[in-house]
């Protein structure tokens, strides 16, 4: 009888320890996901801070492209907290690329020290944004595996852990970047 009790006790302890390990695994995965998301946010803010300088640098050259400038400024001024945030960010990316393309028609702009420096800084930030998104997607994959695979799925149901969504990586971001300086 005592031996049976010991087995029951040992079994319960094992279940408890496993439960703690699995639960803690979920928490660290969630933290990794949140950290990655926060780093996307940090990089997006860095980009936002660079945009006024870029607009200032190209203003004198944007004759017919006034509308483009205004669109970039409008996208930049959209509230960072709004639901439209990430849709707006895509507009900002497209707008910035078009502003850089101005340099092809205006050699003076392309040779401006300030413009080149901004281009480098923005390329840097774009790379960091892309890296942060990929890190976030990797964390999401880990999290979703935990939620969907046994025995994690039991915990997911009990603690209401739900699948998370990935950032969609556009095909243009997967392609090798070729930037001419």
């Amino acid at each position: 009888m005592i031996a049976n009790m010991e087995w029951i006790f040992a079994g319960s302890a094992l279940v408890l320890v496993s439960a703690i390990v699995i639960y803690n695994g979920f928490i660290s995965r969630r933290n990794a996901m949140r950290n990655a998301f926060a780093s996307v946010d940090v990089q997006l803010k860095k980009r936002w801070d660079l945009i006024p300088n870029l607009v200032e640098a190209v203003k004198a050259f944007a004759g017919h492209e006034r509308e483009l400038l205004e669109a970039v400024i409008a996208a930049r001024n959209a509230s960072p907290g709004s639901a439209e945030r990430f849709r707006r960010e895509e507009e900002v990316t497209a707008g910035i690329n078009q502003l850089f393309a101005l340099a092809e028609n205006h050699p003076e702009l392309g040779s401006s020290e300030q413009f080149l420096m901004l281009q480098r800084n923005l390329t840097e930030v774009e790379s960091q944004i892309s890296a942060s998104r990929r890190a976030y997607n990797s964390a999401v994959t880990d999290w979703n595996e935990g939620v969907e695979v046994f025995p994690g799925l039991l915990f997911a149901k009990v603690f209401n852990f739900e699948r998370a969504d990935w950032f969609e990586v556009k095909s243009s971001e997967r392609a090798n970047v070729e930037v001419k300086l």
Partner: protein, 325 residues
């Protein structure tokens, strides 16, 4: 003009190869003469000893002649062979390889007697064990485009001492790494180190190996499945790891691994990239038996240099579109 073209390279360093080849011929002739004389002294001593033994009907004559043959042969060897081979090898390195390096990459310098310091090897973190014996030679360093590069041959060994039940101690030397060690300036700034090592566990133990990898900590899973099968990536910062290992960089490393072999190790640290390329052959050497300007020898040397220098292009290290100059 294709800088890797053998004929063009030979034409460019024609004077140097001719000069070194003249010295090679002298050394080779002296060695050939030495071989004849050494054979004569050794065989002569033995035949003489044998004849004395026959005539005196006593074997002692032969046994007395034996040490004469060995000592005489050794003396002739040193007189004729001496350091001729070593001298030729160094002449070849300075006179031919040095010029060849300048021909294909004018920004690079070849220093055959120097190597990558042990401290740099250890600092890379590419290998866990600290070597007990470390040799490095054939240092090539300088700039390729905007990229600072340094590479050399390295042989690092670990000493293992064991004592058997009788109390006898034996020592053996185990190679940790033998091959080309390369250090290059990376085109991006980063703070946390990222290691890209051969995926031995997954290769041998499959799914279980994959689980085992996690025990090592800081495991980062990359999107490229081919890259994932070849390498195991560890980095303390998930974002910075991906900032370095972009999808394009993963593809480049897959190609590099296919070219350089499955044991290729890479570490990104302090805004530099370290590569350990295993190789059992001794690179950057001249063969005294071949004419200095031998086409095949030259093609082989050019191939070795190209294999190292092209890494800069293959990893796209000269692209400077980020904030690092």
């Amino acid at each position: 003009m294709n800088k890797w073209d053998v004929e063009a390279a030979l034409a460019k360093i024609f004077d140097e190869t001719e000069e070194v080849n003249r010295i090679r011929k002298d050394i080779a002739a002296k060695r050939a003469e030495g071989q004849v004389r050494m054979t004569f002294v050794m065989l002569g001593s033995l035949v003489l000893g044998f004849l004395i033994s026959m005539l005196t009907r006593n074997g002692a004559g032969f046994w007395v002649a034996l040490p004469f043959a060995v000592v005489g042969g050794t003396l002739v060897y040193y007189a004729y062979f001496g350091d001729g081979l070593k001298r030729y090898r160094m002449l070849f390195k300075f006179g031919v390889i040095g010029k060849l390096v300048n021909h294909v990459e004018p920004g690079m310098t070849y220093e055959p007697e120097r190597g990558i310091p042990k401290s740099v090897y250890e600092e890379s973190g590419l290998f866990r064990a600290d070597p007990d014996r470390y040799q490095s030679e054939d240092l090539i360093h300088g700039m390729i485009g905007d990229t600072k590069l340094m590479l050399s041959e390295v042989h690092a060994e670990e000493k293992h001492t064991s004592t058997n039940s009788d109390g006898h101690t034996s020592t053996r030397w185990e190679t940790i790494f033998k091959g080309i060690f390369l250090l290059a300036d990376f085109h991006k700034e980063f703070r946390s180190p990222v290691s890209v090592m051969p995926d031995v566990a997954e290769r041998h133990f499959g799914w279980f190996g994959k689980k085992l990898q996690k025990l090592g900590g800081n495991l980062q899973k990359m999107e490229n499945s081919e890259f994932e099968q070849m390498f195991v990536v560890r980095g303390t910062d998930a974002v910075e790891t991906r900032y370095i290992l972009t999808p394009a960089m993963q593809e480049r490393l897959v190609k590099l691994r296919k070219r350089l072999g499955s044991e290729l190790r890479i570490v990104f640290r302090d805004s530099h990239v370290w590569l350990a390329i295993p190789n059992t052959e001794n690179w950057f050497e001249g063969d005294i038996k071949r004419p200095t300007g031998d086409r095949n020898q030259m093609a082989k040397l050019l191939g070795q240099l190209r294999s190292c220098f092209e890494i800069v292009e293959e990893l796209d290290l000269n692209t400077r579109i980020w904030t690092k100059d």
